[in-house]
């Protein structure tokens, strides 16, 4: 048996439950309320309100990705230095919070950040003035970074801990200083991990809506919120499908453009 036939069950599965449903949704996106063919729903993403939400989502997803990298990179580096007995333990420590229900965790953040919340209570104890960040984009950003940070730390950590110690030793022996070892050995080898992280953070951040609803106080409109509204509130499924198909294409094109081959290669495993 040829090795590629191992993929047969998967191909059948993906055609049956991903490709065909997607085509069905695509067909719905290209259909108007009257059942006739139209491009309107797909092009609706360019309408002022949708465009505005799209750009806001881009800004938030971009900011969230950058913040995640900035926070995750040192964390991954330091984690490597502090090996617990096992690498697996470190990983589980990062994954464990994700096993608690997502909605419960975000509601908990709402309690932490609200005006009379836990954070302001603690700040008052230390004599600091309270923060008014609840229901603003800052709270939204905190929630997003919180939700996606493990997806950035894990692949970077994985890439870094895969680096052969001998390589680093060799660089040192050849006279490289700490900074140089990082710049010329560690960093380049961690890039694939970072790319995986970027995909795992940026893409879901573009479509998220729950965090904006709960932590953004419903005042901030991401493109995900608009799609959700079209499906759940306005009951305009054609438009919802159209918007999400165009969003998907935009994200795909954007990723293909910036990451080229690296994304297809799958980068470094998240774990």
């Amino acid at each position: 048996m040829k090795r590629k036939y191992f993929a047969t069950p998967y191909i059948i599965w993906i055609v049956g439950f991903t490709v065909l449903p997607l085509i069905a949704i695509g067909a719905s996106a290209l259909t108007g309320d009257d059942g006739a063919f139209t491009w309107d729903n797909v092009l609706a993403i360019a309408e002022p309100i949708n465009r505005q939400a799209l750009f806001f989502s881009l800004a938030i997803a971009f900011g969230c990705t950058i913040l995640c990298i900035l926070l995750a990179y040192p964390a991954a580096l330091f984690l490597k230095n502090f090996r617990f007995q096992r690498k697996g333990f470190t990983i589980f420590l990062l994954v464990l919070p994700m096993w608690m229900n997502f909605i419960l965790r975000i509601l908990a953040w709402q309690m932490i950040l609200s005006k009379n919340g836990i954070l302001n209570f603690l700040l008052a104890k230390f004599g600091a003035s309270p923060l008014a960040i609840s229901n603003t984009w800052i709270a939204l950003m905190i929630g997003m970074v919180y939700d996606f940070l493990p997806y950035m730390i894990l692949p970077i950590f994985n890439a870094i801990s895969d680096i052969d110690e001998d390589l680093i030793e060799a660089a040192r022996d050849l006279g490289a200083g700490g900074g140089e070892v990082f710049r010329k050995v560690i960093f380049p080898l961690s890039v694939p991990g970072m790319l995986s992280g970027i995909v795992m953070v940026f893409v879901p951040a573009m479509t998220s809506f729950v965090i904006a609803d709960i932590l953004g106080g419903g005042k901030l409109q991401l493109i995900g919120n608009i799609i959700e509204q079209e499906f759940m509130k306005s009951m305009n499924w054609h438009l919802g499908a159209g918007l999400s198909i165009s969003l998907m294409v935009l994200v795909l094109v954007g990723l293909a453009f910036t990451l080229r081959n690296d994304m297809e290669d799958g980068g470094t495993a998240i774990w």
Partner: protein
């Protein structure tokens, strides 16, 4: 100097972990709150733990969640691992097409995946537990493939070819040569899939049949009137159990080979 640096690193990591665990602490505290409202403190109580044990709905939902999570993760792991092995052997073009398709469930908004699957299922099968299971397997597979693929890339294929040359069948060679080398990736994929399955709400909501409830859909239904404190108690219990298991494993394994990993061992 080294000590200062160490202290700084420890502080930084502690802060990151604090950030990740802060909401968990809140949930734990809420589970002991003697008030049905999450925003008022009514004193310390253990009664939610008691009423949790007699709450049939929550226990059923827990059971469904676990069964769904373990089942879909296991199925996705099998299909996904075989898939990854096969895809890797494909030519460039086929490889690219399949890998792009693999990314679709990750790229698509959950709500679109959910509604697409619901409308799709309606044509063929009644919604029930089976339909949710299929949906979960569907969105779990990509995570397995993304975890297994990089391991496959670093796999030394010449051993496999050698085994085949020496007369081993494809299946035999797969189980004895390939599988051991990519085991860590597979396990990672399994846990990733389990995590995704347990956390999903939107897709489950649209693809489940009447009467099928997971913890996520149950919590969602409760938002309107306020989350039941039993949910906090259950979360705390789950957290505590998993955490203790982890600590025990870490302690036990620390006595043995100390740099070996729980899920990484192939290198």
């Amino acid at each position: 100097m080294v000590r200062v640096k160490n202290a700084f690193m420890k502080c930084y990591l502690a802060l990151v972990l604090l950030f990740l665990y802060a909401p968990i602490f809140v949930l734990i505290v809420l589970s002991f709150n003697d008030s049905r409202s999450r925003v008022t403190w009514g004193g310390f109580t253990l009664r939610w733990y008691g009423s949790l044990l007699s709450n049939r709905q929550i226990l059923e939902a827990l059971e469904t969640t676990l069964f769904l999570g373990l089942g879909s993760a296991a199925a996705a792991t099998v299909i996904g691992t075989l898939g990854a092995v096969g895809i890797q052997a494909m030519r460039k073009k086929g490889y690219r097409v399949v890998m792009s398709l693999t990314n679709i469930p990750i790229l698509n908004a959950d709500i679109v995946t959910g509604i697409a699957l619901m409308l799709w299922f309606v044509r063929f099968i009644p919604l029930g537990f089976g339909s949710v299971m299929i949906a979960h397997i569907t969105f779990n597979i990509p995570y397995v493939i993304l975890s297994v693929m990089p391991k496959l890339k670093s796999l030394n294929l010449s051993i496999y070819e050698a085994a085949r040359d020496l007369g081993a069948g494809g299946v035999y060679a797969f189980f004895h040569i390939v599988l051991p080398q990519i085991g860590s990736g597979i396990l990672a994929g399994f846990f990733m899939a389990l995590t995704m399955s347990m956390d999903d709400f939107v897709i489950t909501y649209f693809t489940k049949g009447a009467g099928v409830n997971t913890l996520s859909t149950m919590i969602y239904g409760e938002i309107r009137k306020g989350i039941k404190p039993e949910m906090y108690a259950l979360s705390t219990l789950l957290f505590a159990v998993i955490f203790v298991i982890l600590l025990v494993f870490n302690a036990l394994s620390g006595k043995g080979k100390n740099t070996e990993d729980v899920i990484e061992r192939s290198r």
